[in-house]
């Protein structure tokens, strides 16, 4: 799952949007989106991604959709959010770090704390 660690919650949420935009244009994610409780205009999103217009594409991904499908926030918030994903039955959560390089490093630091 995509993960963005930041003390600025809004920044963390925004950092996850490009990846979600890239994959949620695929119709096979429709049921996943529905079960997450959100709505995404997948047709409009597909047009934006096809143009590689990422700013337009990210507008199709609401903050609520990010929070339903990603972890985003401070390390403590991310750890709490991660638990909900693991409870679904994952043997190994795999984190996809987003945001700036420094923010990505914070995801790895969080992983170290989870493993210790």
């Amino acid at each position: 799952m995509t993960a963005a660690v930041s003390d600025d919650r809004k920044e963390a949420i925004e950092a996850n949007k490009m990846f979600l935009a890239y994959i949620f244009r695929n119709t096979h994610h429709a049921e996943n989106i529905r079960l997450g409780g959100g709505r995404v205009d997948q047709e409009g999103l597909a047009v934006a991604v096809a143009k590689r217009d990422w700013e337009a594409a990210k507008k199709f991904i609401s903050d609520e959709v990010v929070l339903a499908h990603c972890v985003a926030g401070t390390p403590a918030e991310c750890c709490r959010q991660l638990e909900a994903f693991v409870k679904g039955g994952l043997n190994l959560p795999v984190l996809l770090p987003t945001g700036t390089q420094e923010a990505r490093k914070k995801v790895i630091q969080m992983a170290r704390e989870l493993g210790s």
Binding site: H29, G88, L90, V94, G115
Partner: protein, 206 residues
């Protein structure tokens, strides 16, 4: 809790290598290098990640049967395993249908294609002379000139129910798509378990 790290290929290889070294140092379990068409290449990046790290496992994922013939995939993954024995995971999967279509590659009959793909890959990696007359692939006596020293585990990448079931049936594990909600993950795990009941094995879910 052990955790893996995934790269989407959206940022530079230098940045990924820096993060991979850090992940290796802190003891993360594995690196999963996405094969997103039009972004950084999964196989060449995975080799660079292996070269830059010491113990962490590396998985190029997913390798699509529509873009990489099984012999090409077997050659690549076996070369990686020869370079870093015991540190390579294979993750075949059909891939991003929209991206394949953009590149002019159709993705018909995904279940049959994946079932044949995995069988052929395993036979190549075991060093067999492969004669295969499938509905999708035909192999006419090809045999790898070298074989891996360890058994490479296969984690099928899957999103939809029947592919998840197939992953449970024939995979050593199943890699879910990024962006799955907790509710969808639970449903995926249920589908995978349905598949395992056919095989009697217990795959891992990542």
């Amino acid at each position: 809790m052990r955790v893996g790290l995934c790269f989407d290929g959206f940022y530079s290889i230098q940045e990924m290598i820096e993060l991979a070294r850090l992940a290796d140092e802190v003891g993360m379990e594995s690196l999963w290098m996405s094969d997103h068409l039009c972004f950084r290449d999964s196989l060449t990046t995975s080799m660079a990640l292996l070269a830059a790290t010491k113990t962490i496992k590396v998985a190029p994922a997913p390798m699509s049967p529509y873009s990489r013939h099984p012999i090409i995939y077997a050659m690549s993954i076996a070369t990686m395993e020869e370079f870093a024995p015991g540190r390579v995971i294979a993750s075949p999967g059909t891939g991003n249908a929209a991206a394949l279509k953009e590149a002019g590659m159709e993705s018909p009959r995904p279940l049959k294609t994946m079932r044949e793909y995995v069988e052929i890959l395993r036979r190549f990696l075991r060093g067999e002379t492969v004669n295969f007359e499938g509905e999708i692939f035909k192999i006419n006596g090809a045999k790898m000139g070298f074989t891996p020293s360890t058994t490479i585990k296969m984690y099928l990448t899957a999103v939809r129910p029947r592919m998840l079931q197939l992953g449970g049936e024939i995979g050593d594990g199943v890699l879910l798509s990024g962006g799955c909600s907790p509710g969808y993950i639970a449903r995926c795990v249920s589908d995978i378990k349905t598949g395992t009941e056919r095989s009697g094995r217990l795959p891992s879910v990542s």
